[in-house]
Every structure is written in structure tokens, then in C-alpha cells.
């Protein structure tokens, strides 16, 4: 292949076009984002479009976390949080907060699936990082997040709150779970939760 053939090949490679309706709505979405964010922050920030696609990082991010899920999500339930799990989760948290500064909210790993939750705009996050593990009928789910985050896992919705002494509270609409590193029941789930600072 010579330069001319390569250049022709590259020039003829057209990207897929978006539907007309997309082009018609895109400018107004940008304008709306500008309007919504400007008065609040004094800087321009727009919410990302399409909740599912925007709150989740697909592709490689999910692929990266699939490996985590295979390990974190398939850990057999047992009393107390495994120190290896805590260490690995702390490292993952460090990586993800580096990759998504100010927008990373949580990573939820269950079985062979993993989700990274990001905030819609930048949000200063200075709260305590927390590791939560929910097990039910031998299947476990691991959440790495921050105090103050609202988490939704299936029908379960709760806010994660960390106390000053490393204790963690999960506050739902009709329940409050509190514990430090001890297993307790929450709607049939066995819960373990700990702040990362408590592990240092």
C-alpha cells in the first residue's frame, strides 16, 4: 500500500452519522446545560445527557471492573471483612478517584457485573470513603463509595453515612442499619461495612 492508497482509504472512511433529530436537539441541550449550571457554580457545567449512559462508564471502565467483580463479587460470604478485600478495594478507590476526579461516586460489583457511578457534574468530595458488603443466599455485592452517597441496588435504596469513629450507617426510607464491622441483617441481607480510615 502506498501513501496515496492509504490517504484515499482514510478519506473515504466516513464516521456514522447521527439521526437528524439528534442534531436538532443537541444545541438546545447544550444551552440548557449552560443555563442550569451557570448560576449555581459561576462556571459553565452541563449535566451529561442520557442518565444510564452518562452515569455509567461503559466499555473499558466496565471491563476493568468486571475483573474486580469476578473477585470482589464472588468472594464467599464470611464473618468480618476480609483484609485482602479491604486492601484491594482501597486501591481500586484510589485508581477510580484519580481517573474521575470530583465525579466518582461509587463502584458496585455483583457477580460478573460492575457499575461505576459518576456524578452529573463536578462535586467536591471530601467525605469518608466507605466499603459496604451485602450478602444474601451466598451471593455478595460490594460497594465502594463515600459517606453521604445515595445508593440504589435493586429495590434497596439507602444513604451511606460514616461516623467519626469508623462506624457506618445505612439509612433507607424504612430502615436504618448501623454497625461497625459486624454482620447484621438488613431486609434479609447480611451487611458488613467499614470506613477505610478505620482500617488504617
Amino acid at each position: 500500500m502506498n501513501n496515496h492508497e492509504l490517504d484515499t482509504l482514510l478519506r473515504n472512511s466516513r464516521p456514522p452519522d447521527w439521526p437528524q433529530a439528534y442534531w436538532e436537539t443537541f444545541p438546545s441541550q447544550v444551552v440548557r446545560g449552560v443555563r442550569e449550571s451557570e448560576p449555581r457554580t459561576g462556571r459553565v457545567r452541563a449535566p451529561r445527557r442520557g442518565a444510564s449512559a452518562r452515569l455509567m462508564v461503559s466499555g473499558l471502565a466496565v471491563a476493568a471492573c468486571l475483573v474486580l467483580a469476578l473477585w470482589l463479587g464472588h468472594r464467599s460470604p464470611r464473618e468480618g471483612l476480609d483484609p485482602q478485600l479491604v486492601t484491594a478495594s482501597a486501591r481500586l478507590l484510589s485508581e477510580l478517584t484519580g481517573l474521575f476526579p470530583n465525579t466518582f461516586r461509587a463502584v458496585i460489583s455483583e457477580g460478573n457485573q460492575s457499575r461505576i457511578l459518576l456524578s452529573e457534574g463536578e462535586s467536591a468530595r471530601g467525605t469518608e470513603p466507605v466499603l459496604v458488603r451485602l450478602c444474601h443466599n451466598g451471593e455478595c455485592l460490594t460497594i465502594v463509595t463515600f459517606s453521604g452517597e445515595r445508593i440504589e441496588v435493586g429495590p434497596l435504596r439507602f444513604e451511606v453515612l460514616a461516623g467519626g469513629k469508623g462506624e457506618v450507617l445505612l439509612v433507607g426510607e424504612d430502615f436504618v442499619w448501623s454497625g461497625t464491622d459486624s454482620a447484621q441483617l438488613l431486609q434479609g441481607q447480611r451487611v458488613e461495612a467499614i470506613t477505610f480510615s478505620a482500617t488504617l
Binding site: L9, L10, R11, R14, A46, R49, L60, A61, A63
Partner: protein, 180 residues
Amino acid sequence: MGEADEELQRIERSRAGDPEAFGALVERYQHMVHVLAYRMTGSTADAEDLAQETFIRAYDRLGSFRGTGRFSSWLGRITIHLCINWARQQQRLRQLHVTWDAETHGDATSNPGAFDSTGERQERVQWALMRLPAKQRAAVVLTLQEGLTHAEAARILGCSETTVSWRLFAARAKLKRWLS
């Protein structure tokens, strides 16, 4: 009023805090920004995100547009820089993946073979582009695909024309090998 004057007026109104005027600029350049972002990412979803981020950042930084060059070049520079940062992020994610793989399975193998090598020509081209380092990819996209001169590409990429030429030379050698 000429098109250039109209554009300058819209830029001025946008600077003064008129998002509707900025909307007209978005409408004019949205296709260019989406195409650049797609060529740099190979993903329509990522291109959409980056296009939106580009315009938001542009609005945020309109004060730094001096009007000496073309608005499209200035916008292209923002797009390319965001895409290069995106590529760095993807690279870090890949490294994270490999690390986790090694730690959890004792096996650091990665599987780059997700692309169907028997696919259509366009897929092959995009696949080959994605294998290039981001800065070489940007040089190819801007010059060979978007038809900019080396000087224009250099302004967008913030480097010399010689650097653009060198990146193109290196990229061409790889692309020929991968696409032949």
C-alpha cells in the same frame, strides 16, 4: 452582514452571557466536533459526551478566544485536547484492568482481539486509528481525514509543523502495515 461578522457577533453575545447565541454556534459546528471526537474515540457514545464537554468548555473559555484565528480551529483544539485526555484515561483503565487481572487471577493476559478483522473497511480503518498513539491519531484525523493543512493542524495541536509531519510519517508507516 457576512457570515464571519455574524459569527463574531454571536461570539460576543455569548461572552456577554447569552446562551441562545451560543446555541447558534453549537448548531453550526456540532457536526465538525462530533466527527472529530468520533474519529479520535471510535465510539459514538464517547463522541457525544466529548462533543458536549467541548461546547461546555468552549462557552466557559470564550474569554480566551482572541478572534485572531478561526473559531472552528479554536473549537477543534478544545475537542482534540479533550480527546487526548480521554485516550490517556482509557490507557490508565487498561492498565488498571491488567493489574486487577494479574492480582486476582495471577494472569496478566489482556485480550485486544475484540475487533473483527473481517469486518467492513470502515471498521478496519477505525480499528487501526485507535491503535495509534493519540497524538499521531490526531495528526491523521486533522490532516488526512479532515483535510486541514499541516500548519492548521499544528495550530490546533499546539506543536510545530515539523512535529505534525513526523507524527504523520510514523502513523502512516503503522497504518500501512495494519491495513494492508
